[in-house]
Amino acid sequence: MRIARSLLAILSVAAASGASAQILDYGDFEGLFGEPVTTSATGKPERLSDTPATMDIITAEQIKRSGARDLASLLRMLPGVIDYRGFNGVESFSMGALLLNGREIYTASFNQILLEDLPIALEEIRQIEVVRGPVSALYGFNAAEGVINIITFDPSKDPINLAMGRVGNNGRRDATVIGTVPLANGVGLRLSAGGDHAHDVGDVHLATPQVVGKNPERQAFSAQLSAVLPNGDHAGAEVSHSDVTVNTMVPEVTEFIDLRIQTDAAKVDYSADTAIGLASAMVSYTAMRVPTGSTPASGLFQLNDHTVDAKATDLVKLGISDSVRFELEVRDEDVHSNSSIAPISADFLGGSAMWEHQFLPDLRLVNVVRYVHAETTQGDTSTPATYVHFDNHGVSDNSALIYRLGDEDTLRVSFARGLALPSQLTFEQFGVTANPGKKTSLANNPNIATSNVTEYRLTWDHQIEALAALGRVSLFDKQSGDVIGLLPLQLVASLTPVCVKPPNPRAALSCAVMARESGLEGVIQGVQVQLDHASWKGIEWGLNYSYEQDHPHATASSAVAVPALLDTQSYHKVAGNIGYAAGDWTFDARLLYSSRVRSLTLATSPVPQVGMVADKNIVSLSPHISWTPLSDLTLDIAADNLWDYKEDLIQRVPTTYFMTVKWSY
């Protein structure tokens, strides 16, 4: 009821705005400035080269030339994405929040992002915007590590009509059909439907009676309506359905899980250029159902998860030097699961403010602050033994200074503090809560408190005209505190008796992964160097290098169990792409090197032992050849990971070959 009242209040704010005007149009502004534009960095429209945040944009052309089959393959090429290596393209992605046209793609029950749950095809994407570092001041609790905002083509202006089929090894069979219907002048509707299938070869098979979906499957449908009204306002609506079967990991308890997830989502938005600025409102609803799920700890389970989110924003330029933005957001999440003692609900109320001041034409300061209040409840007061209620609140903030030093150089200095909340998983979704009566949880920090990430970053961009390239050096220092995921190993063994002597490898792994990031906080210092979008004699290429040094701090119990947890670790990653176009042909390749990563694991033979295990260095080459014999027909041949590698005890990244036929109609 409270949520309903809040929604009405937000919608009334939007309705109160009289309107005339023109709203942000990605295509128009990109045509004007000759570079991508975005609102992801501050909530304000900006050119990519003007954003105060350090960010990357993957354009539609880059997606096309990459030959990538999925979002995972694209994201892993970005600098700074070190922990993410890939697993059939279906594993969770834990680098911040994932948004589709502003709607969050997030499974609250598992506190993670399933990339496969994205209900659209890559061909519908105009650009993928990735902001590095905490941005929860703009996007709320889930964006403590950054944000990925996927912007699709506007069906009222950019019609896409495409049929695509793909076959490959390991039983790969994908098909997608996209069609755009112009309904009236300025009104367009895009429909897309697709299905993917492959045999599961990435999961190292472990004996279990509870596997519900061995092969990764995905079916998705989406519809997007966009209307530019006669007065210049914009109205949009999106509905989608996806049905995904994955074998994945739950980050908070690092537990292996087999899932079939069916997700229905709807979103409406309205924006107008009004007398009080650029006003917009958005309401989204996401219903996620797990008809069959399985974990070693809890066995088979079913789950329903409903999320309603509503936000209203107003963005206005005051005078010639100041812009301000205000946002109010309400969010309600409810989870019902047969593995829980009682249903769980979480209510969020947040407000944020952004202020940008331009001191000089080339010097700007941006500040963003957000306050969020969250109430998480399990059960009700009529059953005190199972009733749990927590209030959380906190402030996150971002400050950045951007200074253009002449025609070719830009300097960014930023400070960001992001907050993350424990998820509903905290409340024993999988039966791992230690003692609900004492309001403690095994799967999370015992006080159900917010964790925080603080980052200082210095970034220097240099335009290299001779190469038509952007050179970038970015230095950062990131500190994490009160990290979610405190799970001393002794507790695993004492509270989950099966972990004292796991009866089979899968159970042993389950115990290991449950403890895997237990009680770790720390400081990460790193540097990212990149040279992007370079062009030389018809050859397109880009290269980036990332280095990070982690200085972890473990809780006392974790450190006693595994002293090596405290060791400093270093990571290196090099990612590059090169391509050449000749007539109807394009030749491209992606190269990735990632140094070994040590992780906590459990040896199972001859007796269970806990320790740090380092995997191998990874070198991955993914070539792609494309031929366009007719203007509306394209044939692609591509390979992912020419050199198969095993990532850890339970995941292997296989070599995949596939051929794609695309017909634009």
Partner: protein, 165 residues
């Protein structure tokens, strides 16, 4: 003063790419004047460089502007004939027109025409409405005083993405 010294933008002859950007800028005016469809290329017929630049602008406009019966038509306008050109929706000021900036500005105030120029000094001195530069980086600068005096309004998003003076 400091802002001007720090700015990377320099004045110079107009390039076809400048014109392409300028034509795009016209689309972001939210209150276009009714009944005015011509785009004037303003030059000084007594200065060869100005006349030459005007021809470059005219040629570029012919390519950049949409075609059709209702499409805007580019025409050459000598600064001495400016008072007779009352139906202009926008004016592109050619190079070497600095001595006429006051007259150009007054014309904008009087008729509500959008004044575009690749000479960014014209905008910084609040005599032209929008300044455009395409190299080395696309720059669009806006004189809010000239726009306000001419009754011209731009979309909020556009104002946030350009530099205002």
């Amino acid at each position: 003063m400091l802002a001007c010294l720090l700015s990377p933008i320099a004045a110079g002859a107009t390039s076809p790419k400048d014109i392409k950007i300028g034509v795009h800028v016209i689309d972001f005016v939210t209150n276009p004047p009714a009944g005015k469809n011509a785009i004037g290329v303003l030059y000084d017929s007594k200065v060869k460089e100005s006349a030459d630049d005007a021809q470059v602008i005219l040629d570029a406009l012919s390519v950049s502007l949409p075609h059709g019966a209702t499409a805007p038509k580019p025409i050459l306008v000598d600064i001495r004939d400016l008072d007779d050109a009352q139906t202009l929706r926008a004016v592109v000021v050619a190079d070497h027109m600095k001595q006429h900036f006051d007259k150009v500005s007054a014309f904008g105030h009087r008729t509500g025409a959008l004044i575009l120029s690749a000479d960014l000094e014209c905008v910084r001195s609040n005599k032209c409405t929008v300044g455009i530069a395409s190299s080395p980086r696309v720059e669009v600068i806006l004189s809010s005083k000239q726009a306000q005096a001419s009754g011209i309004q731009f979309s909020e998003a556009f104002r946030m993405m350009v530099t205002e003076y």
